[in-house]
């Protein structure tokens, strides 16, 4: 494919944690550099906790972000409050950054709709997790259209996996974003696998960023394990969109170090060798090395951070555990703005069934 050279690729920090190119100016903000690290550490620990909670039956199926922390942390940090996130199910890191509470994320995966009824006003307009693959890309275009219609300088950011790039919704959305010059940024978490289907069986496109060419918009690749690279490119794309210059597609090249979800066993379809090799590129260790080398991080900070992170997680798990069961009739109470009289009887019957089952909760 002669064209693959047309797609830019960004990396600042290599696998060894060394600089592989000059850092942009914003990287002089040491607090931000440290914050990005803390974000990744938090989500890695929280993620581990989620898997443990699933294994002990305290939440349901969970989609781990192991290995993809840089993407979520960077996207979350690159957005501003007035932007809107339209995420998919592997966005724990981004959601945490945006302001969704950990106990809300636990409620969601615990099978409780209140897990998307976020209380933090910062995320009041963010979309809930989207399960039907790629459909969120279209919603993001709708959100961005609303911004355009109302002439607001806001940006919709939407995420998806590599598998999602094969689905019509993703491709239709890119096309619309191009032709309507929408303020939307598409971020692909290319973790190389869609459950058991490898990237190579999804598409013959040399890169997933090539999808942008069909839509007349800029597409680029970034090392998805380099949190600074992701932050830089996503932030630029957001500001470009905010300035009315239209949409960007950013393919973050990373790797799913865990199973697809807790319901999956990746050893059925993927070799231990591949997995071991992928660990060498993982984002957290390399960034820690980078910070250490730059003198921005040390053992003491690390220990403080780890303590803090674990405390926050434990506290949030407590809030989750202490959350009283959802109302038995919630399914009807939020079906319509006002429940049509026709359904009043069914609402009662649902209540009866819930009570017959001995109440109900996420536990």
């Amino acid at each position: 494919m002669p064209l693959s050279t047309c797609i830019p690729y960004t990396q600042f920090i290599n696998d060894q944690g060394e600089l592989s190119g000059p850092l942009p100016d914003w990287a002089n903000d040491v607090d931000l550099l440290r914050a990005l690290y803390a974000d990744m550490v938090l989500v890695r620990a929280f993620d581990k906790k989620c898997v443990a909670l699933q294994r002990t039956g305290q939440i349901g199926t969970y989609a781990s972000t192991l290995g993809q922390e840089a993407v979520g942390a960077a996207v979350g940090r690159a957005m501003t409050r007035e932007d809107v996130l339209v995420p998919y199910y592997r966005d724990t890191a981004t959601q945490l950054q945006r302001g969704v509470a950990m106990h809300e994320i636990l409620l969601y995966w615990g099978g409780d709709e209140r897990g998307s009824a976020w209380k933090n006003p910062d995320v009041a307009e963010d979309f809930p997790i989207c399960v039907p693959i790629a459909t969120q890309a279209t919603h993001a275009c709708g959100v961005a259209s609303a911004f355009r219609i109302r002439q607001q300088p806001r940006v919709a950011v939407t995420t998806c996996g590599d598998g999602a790039t094969s689905k019509g919704d993703f491709l239709e959305s890119l096309n619309l974003a191009g032709v309507w010059q929408l303020p939307v940024v598409f971020v692909i978490n290319n973790n190389q696998w869609a459950i058991s289907v490898p990237r190579s069986l999804q598409t013959a496109a040399p890169t997933l960023a090539h999808k942008a060419l069909a839509a007349g918009l800029p597409g680029e690749q970034v090392d998805g394990n380099d949190v600074l690279a992701v932050y830089d490119r996503v932030q630029q794309a957001i500001e470009r969109a905010r300035r009315g210059k239209g949409a960007t597609l950013i393919e973050c090249v990373t790797y799913r170090l865990g199973d697809h979800t807790t319901a999956d066993d990746a050893s059925r379809y993927r070799s231990a060798d591949e997995l071991n090799a992928a660990w060498k590129h993982e984002p957290v260790g390399r960034y820690q090395r980078f910070l250490h080398a730059g003198g921005w991080w040390d053992e003491e900070r690390e220990q403080r951070l780890q303590r803090d992170v674990h405390q926050r997680i434990e506290d949030e798990v407590e809030v989750f555990r202490a959350t009283p069961p959802a109302s038995a009739t919630a399914a009807f109470d939020h079906l319509y703005a006002r429940l049509p009289a026709q359904y009043a009887l069914q609402r009662e019957q649902l209540q009866e069934r819930v009570e017959a089952l001995g109440g109900s909760s996420h536990e």
Partner: protein
């Protein structure tokens, strides 16, 4: 437009769209060929001249996209009114309607809502090509969280469309294409919405209840006239909103008359008439003097234009069913 002058249903729809866009800056209109062209049925004529292309958006050709961006806009508090050019092309958009539009409020426990309307021409009988005569309202009526509304007169089209647009939840608004221009009626442009979620009794009667919706109401009303000549006094009800179904009105009528014929253009099996019949026998079995009859389209693919009229419920079949209902007397 002069209020006292009779207008067609498509003009009434156009009037309602103008009114809604004028009264509420959050109302936006989108779809294929709805801008410069004014819609293939001319329902959106004049909107872009009046409200500009920022609020009147010709989309690329993709129904899933149209449905999906409407969800995104609605979540932002806009009130998108999307046109699907024909009901036969709505299917690509079903994932967004079923999995998102109907659920956004429930999924977020009210944090986000989805006040969108999908307008689309409904039904056969206009001699258009294949896929231009679908009446698959049952597919949407089954989906919790949606509303399904279908007007059968210019006035109800005006009032119900205003109601659909004002409604804080998603509405599938089906416009009987066969009625677009065939009926004329004075419509006051008073901005008044008609109530959703209720049936309209078009004609009172004591012997038998005739239920229908959409274009088939024409044949239903004609049949009521004919039956009256035979001394059969029919009550005729326009169901109008299929979801949620106003079972109270329907059951009350059949409780009074003891007999019911439901006229449905859609394929027979698993159609809306089945739900209505099920509810009536559930709630009014002891009042029934004869089985609830269904006069319907067929369980076959809607024939091409050459034979499509044979697919539609005709006055003859409605009258025959009514006479059968009058013969049975179980009480």
């Amino acid at each position: 437009m002069n209020d006292s002058q009779p207008i067609s249903m498509v003009e009434a729809i156009n009037l309602a769209l103008h009114r809604a866009m004028q009264d509420d800056p959050d109302v936006v209109v989108l779809g294929e060929d709805i801008g410069t062209n004014g819609g293939v049925f001319r329902a959106t004529v004049g909107l872009h001249e009046r409200f500009g292309f920022r609020r009147v958006m010709d989309t690329p050709l993709a129904e899933s996209l149209i449905a999906g961006i409407s969800v995104g806009m609605a979540a932002q508090g806009l009130k998108p009114v999307a046109e699907i050019q024909f009901m036969g092309f709505i299917y690509a958009g079903m994932e967004h309607l079923i999995s998102h539009a109907s659920r956004l409020r429930s999924r977020t426990r009210g944090r986000l809502a989805c006040p969108m309307v999908i307008r689309t021409p409904h039904g056969a009988g206009i001699h258009a090509p294949e896929h231009h005569g679908e009446s698959t309202e049952a597919l949407f009526a089954h989906i919790p969280g949606l509303r399904v509304v279908i007007p059968s007169s210019p006035r109800r089209a005006y009032g119900l469309l205003l109601a659909a647009i004002a409604d804080p939840d998603p509405v599938i608004f089906l416009e009987p294409a066969r009625l677009y221009r065939s009926v004329q009626q004075p419509v006051a442009d008073d901005g008044k919405a008609l109530p959703l979620d209720i049936c309209f009794t078009l004609r009172e009667g004591s012997d038998l209840t005739l239920l229908s919706w959409g274009a088939a109401l024409k044949e239903t009303l004609d049949a009521a006239d004919l039956l009256a000549q035979e001394g059969i006094d029919c009550e005729v009800i326009d169901v109008a909103t299929l979801k949620p179904l106003d079972t109270d009105t329907l059951v009350a009528s059949v409780t009074k008359t003891g007999r019911c014929v439901i006229v449905q253009e859609a394929a027979r099996s698993f159609g809306p008439a089945s739900e209505i019949a099920a509810v009536i026998q559930e709630q009014a079995l002891t009042a029934l003097r004869a089985p609830v009859q269904r006069v319907t389209g067929f369980d076959c693919v809607i024939p091409y234009a050459g034979q499509e009229m044979a697919y539609l419920p005709d006055v003859r079949s409605i009258c025959a069913a009514a006479r059968r209902a009058m013969q049975g007397d179980l009480l």
